[in-house]
Amino acid sequence: MSSMIELKNVCKSFGETEVLHNIDLSIQEGEVVVVIGPSGSGKSTLIRCINCLEMLSSGELIVDKIKIPEERGKVRQIRLEVGMVFQQFNLFPHMTALENVAFGPSKARKMNKAKAADIARDLLDKVGLADFEDKLPGQLSGGQQQRVAIARALAVSPKVLLFDEPTSALDPEMIGEVLDVMKNIARDSGMTMVVVTHEMGFAAQVGDRLIFMDDGKIVEEGKPGEVMKNPKSERLKDFLGHVKHH
């Protein structure tokens, strides 16, 4: 098995404050990694480093054999292979659902309009939104917007998908529909996924590995079931106690 993503001794600082301390992490092709941890522990920063939305302060990142910072000019190539889904959806407000999804294939992958639209229709169908292709994001519910956003990320056929708390901005009754879409992707496509979430059920069901971060470090990792059942550190015990009560 080959590593899809590798972080070697990665540090990240914003100004004077270091928020990631010497992170070492290797993620295999097809692996689903769930990242949990308290607010401010560096989860977002970690996954944003993987698609170069944040540049490493030191250390090395290797994504699909492309090395950063050595091959800095290939950042765009990394992004083509690494899609991202955001907490706030971030759909383009001036494009319909279909246009949002077709945008990547037609602009980033330079496909012709018709083919890009075909791909987009197919994906909207997969996320259960075939009837909404002409709607603007403002006309969709949060759950629907997030499903469009997932389809948009999938449309450029990346090898990796990053999710940064994809259900945190959603009303409770919409969380399920988004998690279901994510489960289907994990099950059917064999996509490498890194998911920051506090949905422990999701972690247990589809996660191959659970990572607990605190204070910019990876504190514990392992099979989700085992980590959840037998947390070693006090901090994780504490944290799991809090999540369960919400």
Binding site: L80, N90, L91, F92, P93, H94, A108, A149
Partner: protein, 240 residues
């Protein structure tokens, strides 16, 4: 000496010719000013996170330079009266050319000077409008675009541009109207635009009421046409 309607009909051809010139200067000025303003507005935020990610290598000092040049241009124009700009371009600039080169008979036509003045003047204010709306585009949308693997150029044209443009329309309408009215100041360099035509007719027949009323109505019609066209564009764009 009451209100004489015949004064208006008699002076109408000359006033209409003036209005036509006013309109031409305005349209050329607005089109040129948009190009100028978009370049300078983007120039002022070159290399910042508002246009995607920060550059590296040679592009870093280049973007700093671009910011300084654009900023200098905008502040110079905003800090001086348009009438001084027109005077400078029409009277002083040819002398400057004469002083530093050996071109003897360098002249700028009054009309050309008027158009160039409006272009650079409107451009500076439009630059600020462009900068303000681009900076206000939600950074999350830029990140969503970048994470799809599109180029910076595509990001600006397809994501930042359309979203920012929609926010620009109301302040642009304002600026277009100001520019149209500013053309009346070119009376000082002898351009035969509407205000000057009115002034000349007035000087020969002393019918201030009829002439200035007609002139005012003509300006009002032109500014209304500008405002309505912008509102039409605004309505055509998708609501979001």
């Amino acid at each position: 000496m009451g209100f004489e309607f015949s004064v208006i009909t008699e002076s109408l051809p000359a006033l209409l010719a003036g209005a036509k010139l006013t309109w031409i200067i305005t349209i050329l000025g607005i089109v040129g000013g948009m190009i100028c303003g978009i370049l300078a507005g983007l120039g002022r935020i070159a290399g910042t996170a508002s246009l995607g990610e920060e550059p590296h290598g040679i592009f870093k000092p280049l973007s700093v330079m671009t910011r300084y040049i654009s900023g200098g241009y905008v502040e110079t124009i905003r800090g001086t009266p348009i009438i001084v700009q027109a005077m400078f371009l029409y009277f002083a600039f040819p002398m400057l050319v004469k002083a530093v080169t050996d071109i003897e008979r360098f002249r700028i036509e009054a009309l050309t000077a008027a158009v160039i003045t409006i272009i650079f003047n409107a451009g500076a204010y439009i630059a600020e409008i462009v900068r303000g709306s681009v900076v206000s585009v939600n950074k999350g949308l830029l990140e969503a675009g970048m994470s799809l693997g599109i180029t910076r150029f595509q990001l600006i044209v397809h994501v930042i541009g359309p979203i920012a443009f929609r926010r620009m329309i109301p302040p642009l309408g304002n600026q277009f109207i100001i520019s149209l009215k500013d053309t009346s100041l070119f009376i000082v360099i002898g351009v035969g635009e509407l205000t000057r035509q009115g002034q000349e007719i007035m000087a020969s027949n002393f019918r201030a009421l009829e002439i200035w009323l007609t002139v005012a109505v003509m300006y009002l019609i032109m500014t209304t046409v500008l405002a309505m066209s912008l509102r039409k564009i605004e309505r055509k764009m998708k609501i979001f």
